[in-house]
Symmetry: C2
Subunit: 181 residues, 2 copies
DNA sequence: CGACCAAGTCAACAGGCGTTGGCCTACAAT
DNA sequence: ATTGTAGGCCAACGCCTGTTGACTTGGTCG
């Protein structure tokens, strides 16, 4: 499967270093076949970087458990879907990938937060802060491989991230009397 | 100054897309001069990515103020030193840059945390978690440009990040009865 | 004046890239 | 047996990259 090889290469090397030739070689086909099926490199990337966070419905989750549920979900998601890594690796140097990342945030995470957030006007900011938590941890653990973060077990990470996300969603934002800036 | 142009290009484009020709053009010199002065692209990058966090001495800071002090310091640092952005942009796709980032963490942040951390054995993990906070926020604000995070004022970011860092340094790690894994 | 040496310019090399068009094979229908 | 067609391979194009070596300039010393 071409897409599987593409996801692997994009996720491991980023957009610029992942070459069509290498992807084709991994898939044991000719580079020209990649062009025939996907048109060009950009379109191949777009097909490979189609991310679905698969966020669960949170309506039946008690407010005090939101952080814990999301923490476990994100870590599982991160460890079994290469597309997550693709966006993180490529979104940093490729504007198109960054735009897609903002879209994933706006279309998937933000609306969900909006439905469970006590004060809807704060929802986008709370969702954004939650994103910083998840992305910062993924960056240090899976990409930069900071030793102390890599050394944490799956359970330890979930246990740490849960309360952090909980604070993003329902905690004090720091300047509550003037939240809009 | 060649280094200034190199920092700008590496910070804006990442390692692969920043070309020696473009850097030389920015500096209004010939590409061959870059080679003469720095040897090759890798060495030029190494010279441009020499990051100093300039962390203040924290010994005289009350423990309850550690997060606030570091929060303000990091945000100032991010906003006036292009080298910070270089490492974030390139460390994601370039293993040499990632290694340098781990070195900055191990040599600059971790020792400082070790000196103010209540239980020294937890220091590396606390420093790592603090790194996830700072990097996650910088990633969303300066690189991915998530709108709600960009919309926050400097003061709002500092006010939010302070307590977060404080929790990393002196708060509950989540599984305190078994912190080493 | 002539000789040197560092600083800078220029053109070119070899290699890798995305992308293209032509050829070749294999199979189905007539 | 011949034709048509789709799928796949190969060689090549044009472009851009890092890097190199030869050449020119300008200033300083014997």
């Amino acid at each position: 499967m071409i897409l599987a090889a593409a996801r692997e290469r994009f996720g491991a090397d980023g957009y610029e270093r992942a070459t069509i030739r290498a992807i084709a070689s991994d898939a044991a086909i000719d580079p020209a076949m990649v062009m025939r099926y996907f048109g060009n490199k950009e379109k191949l990337f777009a097909a490979a970087a189609d991310v679905d966070l698969r966020l669960p419905a949170l309506d039946s989750v008690p407010h005090s458990q939101l952080g814990a549920v999301l923490s476990a979900h994100f870590l599982d998601r991160w460890e079994d879907d290469e597309a997550m890594m693709i966006l993180l690796r490529t979104g940093v140097t490729n504007e198109e990938a960054a735009e897609r990342m903002r879209a994933v945030f706006a279309e998937q995470l933000a609306p969900l937060v909006g439905r469970v957030c006590p004060t809807p006007i704060e929802a986008p900011r709370r969702a954004g802060l939650a994103a910083t938590q998840v992305l910062g941890l993924a960056l240090c653990r899976y990409v930069l491989r900071l030793p102390p973060i890599v050394a944490m077990t799956h359970a330890e990470v979930v246990a740490w991230l849960g309360p952090q996300l909980q604070r993003c969603l329902t905690g004090d934002l720091g300047v509550p009397e003037n939240p809009s800036g």
